[in-house]
Point group: none
Chain length 210, copies 2
Amino acid sequence: MPYRLIIADDHQLLIDGLSAVLNTNTEWELLPAVNNGRELLYVLEREQVDLVLLDLNMPQLDGVKALSIIKRNYPKIKVLVLTNYGQPQLQAEIRKAGAEGYLLKNSPAALLREVIQLILEGGMHYSEAEETPAEENTWFLDDFMKRYQLTRREVEIIKMIGQELTSKEISDRLYISEFTVSTHRKNILRKLNLKNTAGVVNFARENSLI
Amino acid sequence: MPYRLIIADDHQLLIDGLSAVLNTNTEWELLPAVNNGRELLYVLEREQVDLVLLDLNMPQLDGVKALSIIKRNYPKIKVLVLTNYGQPQLQAEIRKAGAEGYLLKNSPAALLREVIQLILEGGMHYSEAEETPAEENTWFLDDFMKRYQLTRREVEIIKMIGQELTSKEISDRLYISEFTVSTHRKNILRKLNLKNTAGVVNFARENSLI
DNA sequence: CCAAAAATACTCATAATTAGGTATTGGCAA
DNA sequence: TTGCCAATACCTAATTATGAGTATTTTTGG
């Protein structure tokens, strides 16, 4: 009996693509895809599923939350998280929530298939990226940091503020004190000559940090 | 001789997917995909290309800028823009920049194929505006407000939050009480399902309110 | 290795935002 | 004209962010 897979992603084109890529194999069977977390939970209640390919950036019920619920209610179902950015702190969260794997969306199809096979056989896989976000990007980031006299940590926190996290949430993800986040925020506002959170978000977007 | 297509998108999985979906047809040929605007321009200089499938949200050189450059330097190359959100004002920009088509990423594969065929034969296709009758609302803001159930005042305040004003400053400018601004902010967060100021700023920018 | 920079953590104080309410007014449409 | 909605205003309470400091540890570069 083939393994039963389901894709949860809000981009239909990605779904069609994944389906095409994954249908080359007879060892697994694809259930009709769902477009958000709610739909996914609805299907999981009614169907027997072995592996969920889970997009993190979904409407309705976001990926991390959906993941926690799945792992709590259906511990046997394996989950492979697909995401856009390599966010190490998010990765820690995903790991903690119990996903069997984590893969960036900009991975080749062959790797995806390998990882799925690995997970179905009981393995785990966490994409190691992020350390090296491509040379050009590193260069860009260095230049950018120099221009604004920002440190790596500060840039990281600017991104997280832009992603609507509170200081508490940031401190939890980075495993540092809320006081420390507060210090970083102060330094960010001073260095960039901004006066509040809205300014930081605008800065983050204007500089393509999010 | 088949038409020559190229995909420009930073998500490898989407590329693999699109490739699989598009390879069902012999009337066109897919060039190796590129992951950002720079790479795309590099390829266009060296290869003969008929149609570009262009993602709007790319690193390095964003979609709209890449589009302008393509249309200026290679007016014969047709461009179909693929994007995440239906942003009517962005659509106007894309149209102005000369793209032959505009399609949301959450479109079925069949539609994508039809649209590509149409464009290659000299047609145009814009995802949303074409379908909505002109009598409805030519005023963007009305449509926008209806979509999110926002009032005029709320939109006004969203803009001001995006412009980094505090509630106090907003109340001063609008000659209303700070309490009133606070009420509006509450309603905004509730209606848009956001949790803080950063979310409002992101919303404002994603919807080109600032 | 050593100095500088970065990251960490804390106190005290104030400002701003968020989360629950409730309530009144004016305008517009059925 | 009557009922709904938008806009206004207020209250209490909790949470989050900002401002101005100080200080220690860790990391990094020369």
